[in-house]
C-alpha cells in the first residue's frame, strides 16, 4: 500500500498502472510504441484483435465520466475482453459498504482487471495493495492525484505531432491545484526529457511548492506562453468561483483564457491540447479549440489506442 513500486512486478514489468511517477523512460516509451501498433486496429473494418479474449474487465467509476469510461470500454472491447461498467449511483458503496469490500466482492466474481476512478486521492493505490496477484488495477483518475492514462494519451499525441520531447517547451495552463491530469503530465514530461515545463495560473490555483515537481511557475499567461511548443489547457470547474479562488468567469477568461491573441505568443507551430470536457469561453476560445493548431479531437481518438496498449501490457498479452 505504501510502496511506490507497487505497480511493477519483481522483473520491473507493469502489474498495475497507477501513476506516471517513478516509471522509467523506457516503460513510457514502450507504452507509446505499443499504442502505435494499435492505431491501425481502429482503422480496420473489423476493429478487433483477440488478445484479451476470455478476460473480464470491470470499469468501476465512483465519479461521473463520459469520455474516459467510454474509451476504456471501447479499448477493452477491441481487445476482445468482456467489459462490465459499474457506476457509483448503482453501486453498493451508497449503502455503507467500504471501498475495499466493493472491490473484494467484484474480485470474487473473477475479474481480471479493474479500471477505477474515484474522488479520493490514493484510492487506486489502496485497492492495488489489497488485491491478489492475478488481479490488475488501472487508475482512471484518483482525486487530485493522478490520471496516468490521460497523460499517456497526451504524450502519444505530442509525439505524433512533434516527433519527440527533447528541446521542446511545454506550458500547462489553468487549475493545477485541483488537477490530477496536470500532475501526471508533469511527471511524464519531466521523465521524457522535456526542455522546460511551465505552469501558468494565478497563485490560488497553484499547489504549494509546485516548483519542486520540476516546473517553472508563471502567473502571467503571455510571458508564460512565450516561445512554447505545446500548450496543455486544463479544465476549470465553475465551483472554484464559490471557493473564492477566482473572482469571475470574465476575469479568468481575460487573464487565462486561451485566445488567438494569446496563442500568438507561442511558437507558430505550437499545438493546443485539452483533456476535456472543455468550457468554451471560460478557459478556451472556440476559434482556438476548433482552429488549425488544436489537436483536441485527435487526443480522444488516440486515447483508445493508448488504453488498449496499457491493458495489453498489463494483462501480459504482447501485441
Amino acid at each position: 500500500m505504501t510502496r511506490g513500486d507497487l505497480q511493477l512486478d519483481s522483473q520491473g514489468r507493469l502489474r498495475h498502472f497507477l501513476t506516471i511517477e517513478g516509471l522509467q523512460r523506457q516503460t513510457i516509451l514502450k507504452i507509446l510504441d505499443t499504442a502505435e501498433s494499435f492505431i491501425s486496429v481502429g482503422e480496420r473494418e473489423i476493429k478487433k484483435v483477440p488478445l484479451l479474449r476470455g478476460q473480464t474487465v470491470v470499469n468501476l467509476f465512483f465519479e461521473s465520466s463520459t469520455r474516459t469510461r467510454t474509451t476504456f470500454e471501447i479499448a477493452a472491447k477491441r481487445l476482445s475482453a468482456d467489459v462490465i461498467n459499474i457506476n457509483t449511483d448503482f453501486s453498493a458503496t451508497n449503502k455503507g459498504e467500504t471501498l475495499l469490500d466493493t472491490v473484494r466482492n467484484l474480485e470474487a466474481m473473477r475479474t481480471d482487471l479493474f479500471v477505477i476512478r474515484h474522488p479520493d486521492s490514493g484510492a487506486a493505490y489502496l485497492i492495488a495493495g489489497y488485491v491478489p496477484a492475478h488481479v490488475h488495477i488501472i487508475n482512471a483518475g484518483d482525486g487530485r492525484h493522478a490520471h496516468p492514462t490521460q497523460a499517456m494519451l497526451d504524450m502519444f499525441t505530442i509525439r505524433r505531432y512533434k516527433g519527440s520531447f527533447e528541446n521542446l517547451r511545454f506550458a500547462i495552463v489553468g487549475d493545477v491545484l485541483h488537477s490530477r491530469v496536470a500532475r501526471s503530465q508533469i511527471h511524464a514530461l519531466t521523465t521524457l526529457g522535456a526542455a522546460e515545463v511551465r505552469v501558468i495560473a494565478p497563485k490560488t490555483l497553484l499547489p504549494m511548492d509546485v516548483e519542486k515537481l520540476g516546473v517553472q511557475v508563471f502567473t502571467d499567461m503571455r510571458t508564460g506562453l512565450d516561445g512554447v511548443d505545446v500548450i496543455l489547457m486544463l479544465r476549470l470547474q465553475f465551483e472554484r468561483m464559490s471557493g473564492a479562488l477566482i473572482p469571475s468567469a470574465q476575469e479568468y477568461f481575460n487573464l487565462y483564457g486561451l485566445t488567438r491573441e494569446k496563442l500568438a505568443y507561442a511558437k507558430k507551430d505550437a499545438i493546443v491540447m485539452h483533456p476535456g470536457p472543455m468550457n468554451r469561453g471560460l478557459e478556451i476560445e472556440s476559434a482556438v479549440a476548433d482552429g488549425s493548431q488544436s489537436v483536441i479531437l485527435p487526443q480522444v481518438t488516440n486515447g483508445i489506442a493508448v488504453r488498449m496498449a496499457i491493458m495489453a501490457l498489463i494483462l501480459g498479452g504482447q501485441p
Partner: protein, 427 residues
C-alpha cells in the same frame, strides 16, 4: 509490605538525582532512597541492577475510547497497554461520546480506571458544552469532580468571544485551559501538511498558518485574560517560536509535542501511508528539527503520545477518508529514548519530559521519587534491543507507522502504589 528495589540507576530529575541507589517502599509509598528507614521490613526484593529506575511516566494526552467508542478500545485495554510501557498516569481529552462535560462523566471515567486498577486516568473537562463552542461548562463543578484542566479537544471554538469568556471564567478559578490551536477555515478539508508531499499526492493541505494564526489569536486572549494555558501538540517551528517568545514575556503558557512529530515528517507518508495520517499533520524536516531543538531550549516542556487506538478498518480507506491518529502509548518511551541515542537529549532531560514536567502542567502530585511520594515507578532495561511488530502491541489499536523500527530500551517493571502491575517476560 516492604519492597526493596535493589541496585538500579535511579534517575529522578525533579530531585536532581542520578545515581546507583536502592529504593525502599512501604505500604505503597517511597520511604527511603539510598538508605533504609529504621522500621523498614523487607519482604520483597526487586533486582534492578543494570536497569534504570525512574518515576512512572505521565502521558499528557491519551484517548482510551471509553465511553462511546469501545469497539476501538476500552479503559481496561489501554491502561494495560500504558503500564506495559511504563506509563502510570494518563490524561484523557474530553472528546469521548458523550463528552466529559458533566461531573458524572468525569467521575465515571476515573472510577472505571480505579476499578481496573492499572494506570490512573485524569480527565480534562470540556471547555464548552458538548464541545459545541457555544455555552460554557460547569467548570468549577468539573474541577471538583477531578478534571485537571479544560479543553475543547479538536473541536475549534469558532466564536472568538466564546473562547475569551471561557478563558476568563477558567482564570477566575485558577484552572488551566488546554488548547489545540488550529484555524478551522485555513484547515478546511486538509489532511496533510500543505507542502511538497501534499502537492505530489494531490492531498488537500493544512497550511502552517492554520497553526500560527490560531496560536497568535490564543496568545492575545491569554495575555488579556491572564489564564494559565497549555498548547497541545504543536507541529511547526514557527508556532514554537511564538510560544518561546510568550514565555520570555512572562505569559503563563506551556506547550507539548507528540513523540511522532519528533521522528516523522511529511515524507514518511510515501505513497498514501494512512498510518501517517495524524492531526496536526506531519510537517517538513525543518519543522521536525525545530521541534527537537525546542525541547532543548525549553519552549516545549513535555512529550506525549497523543494515543489514538483504532480498529484496522479505520486505516483501510483512501488517505483522506481514513481516520487520523496513532496508537502511541507503547512507543512513547522508546521514541524518546531514541532522541537520547541520537544525542539530542540527555537521559535526564528525556525522563524529565515524561515525568515531572508533564506533572507540573497537570498540577498533579506525581512524577518524582521523593520520600513520601506514592510509589509509581517505571523500571527499564536500556540494553534490550527490539523491533516493533504492530500485532504484538498490547493496546487494542495496532495502528502505528513504526512497524519494523528498531528500538533500544524496554520496560521491565511498572509499579503503581508499590504494586507490580506489569513485569516483562522475555519472549
Amino acid at each position: 509490605m516492604g519492597i526493596l528495589i535493589q541496585g538500579g540507576r535511579i534517575i529522578d530529575p525533579a530531585n536532581s538525582i542520578d545515581a546507583e541507589k536502592d529504593v525502599y517502599i512501604q505500604d505503597g509509598f517511597i520511604v527511603g532512597i539510598g538508605k533504609a528507614p529504621k522500621e523498614f521490613k523487607r519482604e520483597n526484593v526487586l533486582n534492578a541492577s543494570g536497569k534504570i529506575v525512574c518515576p512512572g511516566l505521565i502521558d499528557l494526552r491519551a484517548r482510551v475510547r471509553e465511553p462511546g467508542l469501545e469497539y476501538k478500545a476500552t479503559i481496561e485495554s489501554e491502561t494495560r497497554a500504558a503500564v506495559s510501557a511504563g506509563i502510570t498516569t494518563l490524561c484523557c481529552p474530553p472528546d469521548t461520546n458523550p463528552p466529559i462535560d458533566t461531573p458524572a462523566m468525569a467521575q465515571m471515567i476515573q472510577q472505571r480506571a480505579w476499578r481496573v486498577g492499572l494506570a490512573f486516568i485524569h480527565p480534562l473537562g470540556a471547555l464548552t458544552r458538548n464541545l459545541e463552542g457555544k455555552l460554557l461548562t460547569d467548570m468549577a463543578a468539573l474541577d471538583e469532580a477531578g478534571c485537571v484542566g479544560f479543553s475543547n479537544a479538536l473541536q475549534p471554538i469558532r466564536d472568538t468571544s466564546v473562547l475569551r469568556h471561557a478563558m476568563e471564567y477558567a482564570a477566575s478559578f485558577d484552572l488551566t485551559v488546554f488548547l489545540h490551536s488550529e484555524d478551522p477555515w485555513l484547515r478546511n478539508n486538509g489532511v496533510v501538511h500543505e507542502g511538497e508531499v501534499g502537492t505530489r499526492l494531490g492531498l488537500p493541505g493544512i497550511p502552517e498558518a492554520a497553526e500560527t494564526v490560531a496560536v497568535a489569536r490564543d496568545l492575545a486572549l491569554i495575555e488579556q485574560t491572564g489564564v494559565r494555558a497549555h498548547f497541545c501538540q504543536l507541529s511547526s517551528t514557527r508556532a514554537v517560536a511564538m510560544i518561546a517568545a510568550a514565555r520570555k514575556q512572562g505569559l503563563p503558557v506551556s506547550a507539548d509535542v507528540t513523540a511522532h512529530h519528533l521522528h516523522l515528517s511529511e515524507h514518511d507518508i510515501g505513497f498514501f501511508n494512512t498510518q501517517c495520517h495524524v492531526l496536526p499533520p506531519l510537517r517538513n524536516i525543518r519543522d521536525r528539527d525545530g521541534l527537537r531543538q525546542a525541547l532543548k531550549d525549553g519552549a516545549l516542556s513535555a512529550i506525549c503520545s497523543d494515543h489514538q487506538p483504532h480498529e484496522p478498518d479505520a486505516k483501510l480507506a483512501p488517505f483522506n477518508s481514513s481516520e487520523a491518529g496513532i496508537s502511541g502509548l507503547e512507543t512513547l518511551l522508546p521514541l524518546t529514548l531514541k532522541l537520547v541515542d541520537e544525542k539530542f537529549l540527555s537521559l535526564n532531560e528525556a525522563i524529565a519530559l515524561l515525568t515531572h514536567k508533564p506533572a507540573d502542567i497537570l498540577g498533579i502530585d506525581a512524577g518524582d521519587l521523593s520520600v513520601g511520594a506514592t510509589a509509581d515507578i517505571c523500571i527499564f532495561d536500556p540494553g534490550i534491543h527490539w523491533v516493533l511488530e504492530p500485532d504484538k502491541l498490547i493496546s487494542n489499536g495496532h495502528n502505528t507507522p513504526f512497524a519494523g523500527w528498531e528500538f533500544r530500551g524496554r520496560v521491565t517493571h511498572t509499579l503503581i502504589g508499590g504494586e507490580t502491575v506489569f513485569a516483562y517476560s522475555s519472549p
